[in-house]
Symmetry: C2
Subunit: 193 residues, 2 copies
């Protein structure tokens, strides 16, 4: 017998990503988000949701571009700070010592110290209620050498991305792999034969 | 100097959720997805993306409802199986021994053995390309007693949800908390004073 928890947004895990955008004067700002995810493979797209009241919402509406910056576990305090204050009140980059770099591909800044950055142009704006969902088409993904595998691909064990648990409002790292996708479930296919 | 990885969908972490829906004959089916996330707080909404070629895509288009079923780590092999085969070829519930339960709130089945289930009606359908994004308004969340904290709320340490790393196509558990949100970053606010 399951117990009803009502209609809260308790699904897990969610990502912890920083969304970078420029304001009208060209000043770099970023917001931390947990409401978002990959949403399409072709074209490759990522969706991020923001309240209309936020500075980043207005910035993206005006510039039609943003970056998604993925922190490693070591950067969680800096990332968290971006969700505590508003860019209207403080320069978050100055406060944290992080560096905003102008993307050469899209009209948005990315964060130099973050090991994985994703450059996006706005493909769709979906008004949902308290949050607006921005669907960004991925124009490039850039990674630090330190998070690459020997063959050149991304190594998630080196990236060490952070997950968020909305129920407890806690950040979590990822464990080592508990199994390969499209593989650990093959035992059930075998049972059919 | 960052290295370009191109335009692949390499963001992490993503969730591992099973999306349940009925086919035209009323047979329960489910698909495992990693392209999705929470997208709005009011109304509470979750977005999941599916290719038009999938059975679940057609089922949701017809019934305008779905469930999101969150596996614990112990259920990862069963969950993975749902992404290996198509419901057009096999009865995934019969093969895995999982139980489909008819939701009393929405026209979709949820998975009895999964510790957290989310019942949704389709609020928006967003065509993006290879994937269609279904935005579901959350009508209820139901949890097993085993994943509840003493106070009655959800305990993510008991839920043990699974994350997916698209780069390596591997499943991962979550570590214990590495910090509370809206808190671990306060050190940077203090520096300003």
């Amino acid at each position: 017998m399951k117990k009803s928890l009502g209609t809260a947004t308790l699904l897990a895990p969610t990502p912890v990503w920083l969304v970078g955008a420029y304001d009208a004067s060209g000043r770099a700002n970023a917001a931390v988000i947990a409401w978002g995810g990959i949403c399409c493979s072709k074209p490759p797209c990522v969706a991020i949701s923001l309240r209309a009241a936020t500075m980043t919402h207005g910035n993206i509406m005006a510039r039609r571009a943003f970056t998604v910056n993925i922190p490693s576990e070591e950067l969680i305090a800096q990332a968290d700070y971006f969700g505590i204050v508003s860019g209207r009140d403080v320069d978050k980059f100055a406060a944290t010592g992080l560096t905003a770099v102008k993307s050469e591909l899209v009209d948005a800044p990315y964060i130099a110290e973050f090991p994985l950055v994703v450059e996006c142009v706005v493909l769709q704006v979906v008004e949902l209620g308290l949050h607006t969902q921005f669907v960004g088409e991925i124009k490039d993904i850039k990674a630090d050498e330190a998070v690459l595998a020997e063959g050149g691909g991304l190594d998630v064990g080196k990236l060490r991305p952070v997950a968020f648990a909305p129920s407890a409002r806690t950040y979590h790292g990822l464990t080592t792999s508990i199994g390969p996708a499209f593989s650990v479930g093959r035992c059930y296919a075998a049972k059919k034969q």
